[in-house]
Every structure is written in structure tokens, then in C-alpha cells.
């Protein structure tokens, strides 16, 4: 695909952003449109299959993954604000479909077009400054599941982008890359271990004194944000997209349901 000419991208919402954090998807949309991308939102998409894949229920994961493959137009980029959803497409689909050559080929082509939001901005659009009006001190939690591997272009898109926001002071936490303890089903099955890990993460976050903690993954956001909310810690968890776009207000009051 040639990024010259008008770029179009379909938003791959992440089922958890869809249900729990629509703001995140709108922030992503706003950000993409800011850089001239024509954004579509294929409404028949549901989930990537990761919850079933991670629990080892591959038959069900395949059914859901197939549905995702069918829900998007045949061309244009596919951009998601959730690192682990992109990782599922890049690393999970090849495993799921390893015995189905035709679907595997389709899944690989799909993965070729799929990007985590910050990587898309930096690697495809060549954005160096997200032009964000956001102000505040921000610490960044590196989600473990930002896709590494074949799409590794710029080493660290989230930090590259955060650093170039004039109003943002990025304060690094210790162990920024250490898992926050979410792990999807892990946090349900082993809530105590999971919380012990989250507590350690929160300690590191609080030690920075930052006003915001940003992360590029919906799972980490639910987890870290959930503990902050419970104990009223003096820091706010935001999705990276919200910082990059400039944190849109919550718009719950619009029109009848």
C-alpha cells in the first residue's frame, strides 16, 4: 500500500473499548482524521477471539477470528487503539489457522494491514508531532503486548509521540515494561497474584508523582485504572490515544438512547 494519496483506515475498536471506553475510539478517530486519514468504522466487527485463544479454546477463537476477518473491507489500513488486539492478529492468527492454508493466507494479508494506533501514526503516516493540546505530567506504562516482531519500525512509537507534545512532561517510572498483572483470563483466575502485580505497578506509578498514567492497551487500562479508581489514588489512567488526541470530554448526554 502506498501512503501517498488519501489514506483510508478502518477502525478496529477492540471489544473492550467499544463497551467500556468509547472515548478511546473517538480519540483514535480524531487523531487519525487530524492527519488526513479517512476513517471508517465497520460496525459488524465484534472481537478478535483473544479471550478464547488465551484460555486454549481454539475452536471458539477461530470462529470469532473468522468473523473479524470478514468484517473489514478488502483494502485500506486497519488500525486499533489496543496493542493486544493487534498482537492477536499478528501473533495469534497464524497459530490459530496454521492448519487452514486458505484462511491463513487471508489472515496474513489482514495482519499486513493491521497496526496498533501509535505505530500506525509513526511508521505509516510519519507523524512526529501529534499536535496534541494535552497538558500535564504523564508516566507511560509499556503494555507487554504491543506487537514486536515483523512490524518493528520505529523503536518506541508511544514514547516518540508523547515526548513531542509541548504540554506533556514524560516522567519515566521504574520497571515501565513490567506486566501490570492483567493477562485477561489470568486476572480472573488468579486475582490475588494479579492484584499483587498491579499493586507493584501502582507503587511505581505513584513514585513518579505524575498526574496521568498512559498506556496503549485496553486491558492494562482497565486493570490499572480499576485499582486507581478503587483506592482513589492521586493519578488518572488514560489511554495513550486520549493523551495524543487531547483527552476529549465524556459525551454521555447526547440524544436519546
Amino acid at each position: 500500500m502506498d501512503p501517498k494519496g488519501p489514506v483510508s483506515a478502518s477502525l478496529f475498536f477492540s471489544c473492550s473499548a467499544d463497551a467500556f471506553a468509547p472515548d478511546v475510539c473517538f480519540a483514535a478517530t480524531e487523531l487519525l482524521e487530524r492527519f488526513g486519514v479517512k476513517v471508517g468504522a465497520p460496525l459488524s466487527q465484534t472481537c478478535c477471539g483473544q479471550p478464547a485463544f488465551f484460555t486454549g479454546n481454539r475452536k471458539e477463537a477461530r470462529a470469532v477470528a473468522r468473523k473479524l476477518l470478514r468484517s473489514f473491507p478488502d483494502d485500506g489500513y486497519i488500525v486499533t487503539p489496543s496493542g493486544s488486539c493487534a498482537a492477536m492478529v499478528h501473533d495469534g492468527f497464524p497459530v490459530l489457522f496454521r492448519d487452514e492454508p486458505r484462511t491463513l493466507a487471508a489472515a496474513r494479508a489482514f495482519a499486513e494491514r493491521t497496526y496498533e494506533l501509535s505505530r500506525f501514526l509513526v511508521d505509516v503516516l510519519g507523524v512526529t508531532d501529534p499536535k496534541s493540546p494535552f497538558t500535564g505530567t504523564v508516566t507511560y506504562h509499556e503494555s507487554c503486548r504491543l506487537p514486536k516482531g515483523p512490524k518493528a519500525g520505529a523503536a518506541d512509537p508511544p514514547r516518540t509521540l508523547l515526548r513531542s507534545i509541548p504540554g506533556v512532561a514524560l516522567v519515566e517510572m521504574e520497571e515501565a515494561g513490567r506486566c501490570c498483572g492483567f493477562g485477561g483470563v489470568f486476572s480472573v483466575r488468579h486475582p490475588q497474584i494479579s492484584c499483587a502485580m498491579t499493586e507493584r505497578k501502582i507503587e511505581r506509578i505513584l513514585a513518579t508523582g505524575a498526574e496521568y498514567v498512559a498506556t496503549a492497551d485496553m486491558g492494562c487500562l482497565l486493570n490499572i485504572g480499576g485499582m486507581i479508581s478503587r483506592y482513589g489514588y492521586p493519578v488518572k489512567a488514560l489511554h495513550l490515544a486520549q493523551v495524543l488526541a487531547g483527552a476529549p470530554r465524556v459525551e454521555e448526554e447526547e440524544g436519546p438512547p
Binding site: C15, T46, A52, N57, C179, M197, T198
Partner: protein, 470 residues
């Protein structure tokens, strides 16, 4: 050693509420992980070395039979006695026979996971042989009556205070607070055993096929003393330990040492090539090498072959955030941490250890740390899928998976479900995050809130704001 991995969750909870253990873990794991990370970062050729070592291991495993035959031939040529055991029981039989035939009364042993795997202590006990563990950590853990917590250091989980208490209680030593005094106490006790022992028992870090040599690495010198001083030496090693050539060793030594302790090279490297020859200043007069299969051939033939690449450096343990929280005990067998969560199901049976692959967030820190690129995360995922095929999953989980898939197969159904859950959560919490959820999510919200479903999920809002345009 009998696996006790089914009790992972119970033992993990115990570990989490054990304040002293938590301090020890934070200290020990934190320190070793920092040293490892620094040693790897300062090793320019790390990635290249990793690639090379991984390739070498792979190549070796693809012709393991040939390399092993060569090792046996060369070792025997140089006077070693080589035994091969199919399983743990057979291995124990061989150990007991060797001990009896060699007339051994006291054996000194250095840390060996292979020996733990076959419960070598039982074999010696049956043969009436007294056994002393000479690895400092292992010595302490043994005195305290605790199972090993790490593949490198058995008392990883104990604070100095705990060690001092054990020495006071079991040996009648006065309390001591510093590490030097504590290890001096242990050394004094151990020295005496070294001079009396008729047999030394050790594992092997590598077996070199072209020369029939056994390579032993250690940082405290006990393994070396145990191999050189007693009249007889018995090596217990998994069949996968073989490397084809002496020239292959350096890359492994570098990687293993940095990944294990952060040192550029191990303090002691002992290479035993046959027993003592005329004119040799030291070395055992008799050298036995016991090669154990214990399930390895089966692994070699299947999709988990790369697990046998492992060189037991322990990097995946120190890097693992779950191991860092609960320590080694909950894994319930010889190998804890991520490699344990892979090897225990493969060697001791998935039905025994199905809980272990689940005890991971799949964050990938283990795979990233592994110096020979064992795909640990991918294997954990694969094992989770195997439990479904082997009928080891709870019916409730399968029902959940089916329900999940049938919702996700149609956007309309998902939308309806979102609406219902949204209404429900607003009834309960008035749009605030949920501070409690029903089973099986109750644990989740014990110390965390869960967001309630938005009144209008994104797909709904998108339709409102942008019309039906997609």
C-alpha cells in the same frame, strides 16, 4: 520428586501472605534480575550470541541420537561408565546399584535438577548411603526441610534471618546476621563431609560429544570439590545436555553465566574427561555417567522439542513477574517459573500440572529473557489448548467459551448483550465503576473496580454521530 502442582493456587496464596517470603523474593529476585539485565545490556553481541546458541541447540536436537551415541562412545573410550535410564525408577535402580557396588557409605551432592527429577535421595537412602547436599542453598533448604525454590539456588526464598534460625535449631549454632558468617558455618560442616565421602554426585551443564567430557559450572566451588575429591563420581544428566564439539562451549558459557547470575563467566568451570589417569594430580578414580530420558524422547518427537533447548540458566524465572510474586514453591516440582510451567506438564504429565500453564499473564518477559530462545509464552498457550483436547478443562470453562463465541459471531447479539449489561450495571452502580461482581469475577473486584458498560457503546455512538456511514 512427586509433583504437587495441582495445589498451585493454594500454595501461591500462602506465598502471597507470607511476609518474610515476600521480602526475600523482592530482595533476591530483584537483585538477580537487575544483575542479569545489566549483564545482558552490557554484552554487545548478546542478540547474535543468542541466535547462534539457539541455532546450535536446535541443530543438536535434530540429531540428538547421533550426538548421544558419540558421547557414550567417547566417554567409554576414556574409561567412564555410562548408564542410560528410561525413567525415574530405572534411574534410581542404577544409582543404588552403583552406590552398593562401589561400597559407598557417604555421598556428597551438588545441586542437580536431574537428580531431583529422579528422587535420587530415595535411591541412596534405600542403598543405605548417607547423603549431604553441598550446594549452600541446597544444604540450607534440606536442613529446613523445604523443597528447592529455584533451579540454581535452592534457598532463594529464605532471608538471612530464616537461615540463621535453621542453623540454630538444627545445628545448635549461635545466631548470626551476616551472610559471610552463615556461609562459613555451612562450609565448615561441609568440608568435613567432603573428606569422608566415598562418592560425589552432580548434574552436568553440558556433555561434549566429541570428547566424552562432562562440563560442570559453579560459582561456589562445591560442585568442583564434590567431583574431584571423592573416590567415585556419579553424574546424572538429561539426554538433551549434549553439545557436539568443545568449540561450541564458549558461547553457551557466556550466555549461561550472564543470564544466570550476571557474571561474564562462571567462577568455576570443571571439565571431566574420563576418570583420573596415571599422573593426574586429582580427580575421581571411577566416573559414572547416568543419562536419563524420563520423557525427553517423547518431547523430542513432538511440537515442544524446543523446550529441550533449555540450558537451565534461570533467567526466565527471575524475569517472570508471577514467579517474582509467589516464588518457586507453588509450581510444585523440580522446575519452577516459566520453564517449569512448560516442563512439568511435559515431563510429569499435563493432568498433574494443567494449572501451571494457566498461571501466566503471557506477558512474554520469559521468552524475551531466554538466552536460547525457548518460545516459552507460545508453549504456555499451546499447553492451554492441549488441556482442551485431553479433556482436562472444567465443563464451565468450555460452556463459557461456547457462549462467548456465539455472542461474538453476530454484532447484533453483542450489541444486545451490551445493552443488557449496561442497564444492569447502571441499576447496580448508577453508572459508576462496579466495586463488586458475581462469581467468577468476584476476585477481580476485590481490590479493583470494573468499569460499567457505557450507556452508549462506541458502535452506537458512531451511528448517532456519523449516521450509518461506515
Amino acid at each position: 520428586m512427586e509433583p504437587d502442582s495441582r495445589a498451585f493456587e493454594r500454595n501461591a496464596l500462602k506465598a502471597l501472605s507470607d511476609k518474610e517470603l515476600q521480602d526475600a523474593l523482592e530482595n533476591a529476585v530483584g537483585r538477580i534480575e537487575a544483575r542479569r539485565a545489566a549483564a545482558v545490556a552490557s554484552f554487545d553481541g548478546f542478540e547474535a550470541a543468542r541466535e547462534r546458541a539457539s541455532g546450535l541447540r536446535r541443530e543438536t536436537l535434530s540429531r540428538l541420537g547421533d550426538h548421544l551415541a558419540r558421547f557414550i562412545e567417547e566417554a567409554e573410550k576414556r574409561g567412564a561408565v555410562v548408564h542410560v535410564a528410561r525413567d525415574a525408577a530405572q534411574a534410581r535402580g542404577i544409582v543404588a546399584r552403583v552406590a552398593r557396588e562401589e561400597g559407598v557409605a557417604l555421598a556428597v551432592r551438588s545441586k542437580s535438577t536431574a537428580a531431583e527429577e529422579i528422587s535420587l535421595d530415595d535411591a541412596l537412602r534405600e542403598a543405605g548411603v548417607e547423603e549431604v547436599e553441598t550446594d549452600l542453598g541446597g544444604y540450607v533448604a534440606r536442613l529446613a526441610g523445604e523443597p528447592p525454590s529455584h533451579i540454581l539456588s535452592s534457598a532463594f526464598h529464605m532471608t538471612r534471618e530464616a537461615v540463621s534460625r535453621v542453623f540454630e535449631g538444627k545445628l545448635g549454632e549461635p545466631p548470626a546476621a551476616d551472610a559471610a558468617t552463615l556461609s562459613a558455618i555451612a562450609r565448615k560442616r561441609l568440608e568435613e563431609s567432603f573428606s569422608r565421602a566415598g562418592m560425589g554426585v552432580s548434574g552436568a551443564n553440558f556433555l561434549v560429544a566429541e570428547t566424552g567430557s562432562v562440563v560442570l559450572l559453579s560459582n561456589d566451588g562445591n560442585a568442583r570439590a564434590g567431583a574431584l575429591l571423592p573416590r567415585v563420581h556419579l553424574v546424572v544428566a538429561g539426554i538433551e545436555k549434549v553439545v557436539p564439539r568443545m568449540a561450541d562451549l564458549p558461547v553457551f558459557l557466556r550466555l549461561l553465566s550472564r543470564s544466570a547470575s550476571g557474571q561474564p563467566l562462571p567462577s568455576y568451570v570443571s571439565i571431566l574427561t574420563g576418570p583420573r589417569r596415571d599422573g593426574d594430580a586429582e580427580g575421581p578414580q571411577r566416573l559414572h555417567v547416568l543419562l536419563i530420558d524420563c520423557g525427553r524422547s517423547a518431547i523430542l518427537e513432538g511440537k515442544y522439542r524446543d523446550a529441550l533447548k533449555c540450558i537451565r540458566c534461570g533467567a526466565c524465572l527471575s524475569a517472570c513477574p508471577v514467579y517474582g510474586c509467589v516464588g518457586g514453591r507453588p509450581y510444585g516440582w523440580v522446575y519452577p517459573g516459566p520453564i517449569g510451567a512448560v516442563l512439568t506438564p511435559l515431563l510429569a504429565g499435563l493432568s498433574e500440572a494443567a494449572a501451571l500453564p494457566d498461571a501466566s499473564t503471557l506477558c512474554g518477559a520469559c521468552s524475551d529473557a531466554c538466552p536460547v530462545k525457548v518460545p516459552l509464552s507460545a508453549f504456555l498457550l499451546e499447553l492451554r489448548s492441549d488441556t482442551r483436547f485431553q479433556g482436562l478443562k472444567a465443563p464451565a470453562e468450555i460452556a463459557w467459551a461456547k457462549g462467548y463465541a456465539s455472542v461474538m459471531k453476530r454484532a447484533g447479539v453483542l450489541e444486545a448483550l451490551e445493552r443488557i449489561l449496561g442497564e444492569l450495571s447502571r441499576l447496580v452502580s448508577k453508572g459508576h465503576p462496579l466495586s463488586g461482581m458475581p462469581y467468577p469475577f468476584a476476585g477481580w473486584t476485590e481490590r479493583r473496580d470494573f468499569p460499567s458498560v457505557a450507556r452508549r457503546p462506541f458502535r452506537k455512538l458512531w451511528k448517532i454521530r456519523r449516521g450509518a456511514r461506515e
